[in-house]
């Protein structure tokens, strides 16, 4: 139990800051851009490359979970609508 208390205390609830590319209230494109950028990033630099995690944080904060699982499925089936080549 002490471990879970520790993680809870370390966990920082954080939303993404303002991005000048997506000034509108609707953040759909912001979410989508970060999702594709994350997979481009890890393809180029590997999953352990720390700066890539920023994209993952951003899309996890912005995207509805339903969309993320839908896009994960699409990537597996090769039907994701955007190129993920860096």
């Amino acid at each position: 139990m002490s471990e879970s208390a520790e993680t809870t205390s370390k966990y920082v609830l954080q939303t993404v800051g303002f991005d000048a590319r997506f000034p509108n209230t609707n953040q759909t494109r912001n979410c989508f851009q970060n999702y594709t950028d994350y997979f481009k990033c890890i393809t180029a630099k590997g999953e352990d490359f720390a700066p890539c995690k920023q994209f993952k944080k951003a899309y996890n904060s912005l995207c509805p979970n339903e969309w993320i699982s839908k896009w994960d499925d699409q990537r597996e089936n090769g039907t994701f609508p955007a190129s993920l080549e860096p």
């Binding site: 759909t28 494109r29 989508f32 851009q33 594709t36 994701f80 609508p81 955007a82 190129s83």
Partner: protein, 275 residues
Amino acid sequence: MTKNYIKMNNKIKFQYFPYHLVDPSPWPILLSFSLLTFTTGAVLYMHGFNNGGLVLTLGFLLTSSGMALWFRDVISEATLLGCHTREVKNGLMLGVFLFIVSEVFAFLSVFWAFFHSSLSPAIEIGGSWPPLGITPLDPFAIPLLNTILLLSSGAFITYGHHALIAGNRKAAIDGTLLTIIFAILFTGLQYYEYSEAGFTMADGVYGSAFYASTGLHGLHVIVGTIFILVGFVRIVNYHLTKSHHQGFEAAIAYWHFVDVVWLFLFLAVYFWGGA
């Protein structure tokens, strides 16, 4: 006695106004029902209902034959009965231009659909235009050739029109015939390009927007070609004179409209939308 009778008869038939009071005709009501059948058939067919294609074909045949029979009457009134006075011709030409304005707005709606989908592509197509996996047509291959063909046909019809006004029968026939040949070449090349294209109307918004816009234009090219063909046959048959050829001028106006729409299609859909 006979002379008196002719005098009397002319007096009775003389019209003190320049307008054409049309005779009762079955075509308006027939065409109303034909068009209803045509549109209903189109909806049934496109939504996959049973025998939708049959209703659509019936509607098309009724509408086109109804139009042919109506226009045949108009030709009789114009060429044989002399009903088309200057005032009547003004009214007809006003009708033609109002019709073309309504066509402009029909094309505006498909252009709107195209720009709606392409200027800010949805994330469902990956936020890019053309979408991933679509290989657009090269605008500088057949589409550029078609632009040249259509613009040339516009020049030929002007040549034919001016020859008609000048009373040069041979040049009028040649110019109009060349227009028709170039128009048919255009349609043939569009057909070839459609059959070679790597996308269909049903596989995404790119194909839908592409075929809806260029297809609507293609239909107008076919109608315009038939319109000019009617003018051509009427020149050959001595229906049209240097000062009385309203139907031909309507066809010319329609053809130029179709030509201008193509230029916008070429710039927007083929060149900008395919890059």
